[in-house]
Symmetry: D2
Amino acid sequence: MSHDLTTDCIDACNACADACDRCATACLQEPDPKPMTRCVALDIDCAALCRLAAGAIARDSELARRICGLCVLACEACGEECGRHEHDHCQACAAACRACAEACRQMVAV
Amino acid sequence: MSHDLTTDCIDACNACADACDRCATACLQEPDPKPMTRCVALDIDCAALCRLAAGAIARDSELARRICGLCVLACEACGEECGRHEHDHCQACAAACRACAEACRQMVAV
Amino acid sequence: MSHDLTTDCIDACNACADACDRCATACLQEPDPKPMTRCVALDIDCAALCRLAAGAIARDSELARRICGLCVLACEACGEECGRHEHDHCQACAAACRACAEACRQMVAV
Amino acid sequence: MSHDLTTDCIDACNACADACDRCATACLQEPDPKPMTRCVALDIDCAALCRLAAGAIARDSELARRICGLCVLACEACGEECGRHEHDHCQACAAACRACAEACRQMVAV
């Protein structure tokens, strides 16, 4: 795979994991966390999958494209849920999820 | 999902991750590690995916079944590679991979 | 290190990670999750550290004892916080944290 | 903690994890992997700890500084081992380890 494509995807995965982790903590600190619980759960899942995908791509794993395919689903679910909330941390996370889903889709399509 | 099924799958994932991690180190310590390099790489991938799956199941994640589906592929690839080598650590890892793949298949089928 | 000691510690780490992951989700599903937010945050930290420790021990990593030392701190913090809440999932998590802290302490003392 | 400091440390952790993961695979693909086995083992440890640290910092975990303290040790051990080998991937990994150790030291000192 081209160096640029893999580097871009690793960067997008790392950025998305960080945004998800920040969003999870910020959601828990909202005055009323009750409406944010699915957001927290998906943030945790998505961060874990993004970090797994970044590592698999960097190791040039033979499973990297499959992991990226699953990462797309996690980013889509998390980005959709975050996009429903107006908090800055949710909007930032939704944007990172969309960018990561797109980068992973390109890895899958190679 | 039934308690028994999820508990069994978590146990199988943890056991497989541990067997993969042990196998990776043992492969690296073989007198000639050259023939074991694909085994090491798949051990690392499979351990990471099994630990991710165990966590997702325990969190009752909405992505758990998808993650189990990917874990099946990792276990099949790792188990097949390990099964080709006569070392005890490889044979133990292959058995753990087959058991984990079967437990994950049952999660996916629910 | 003795086989029994390492196997016991891996098992305690896996059991603690699973209890933390279950507790995190159950806390988020409480009618009022607000008092549970520190519990959720520590559950996430402790699960991640326990899974890291289990892997490091299984790989016979030269950093395993150091990681177990940090795992003790995570288990103590998480177990103390969980122990303050009467929910079954918190009490189960607190017990798993205490057992894991003890097993990790024995690894550190070897 | 200041935004710049935490962001810099997350970036250094992610960059180090990626360098370690790349180095692990490249070491396994060397014509003679035998002299690289400690490097591979430390790459796996260091990548896992860096990813854990990045997540803990992003979640503003109360354990983040402790985790960074352990990450310093992993980066020092991995960077020292990689620094002994002339392969480009080892030298790149050693540089990333030194930068990450320094960023984590600053987190610990806050």
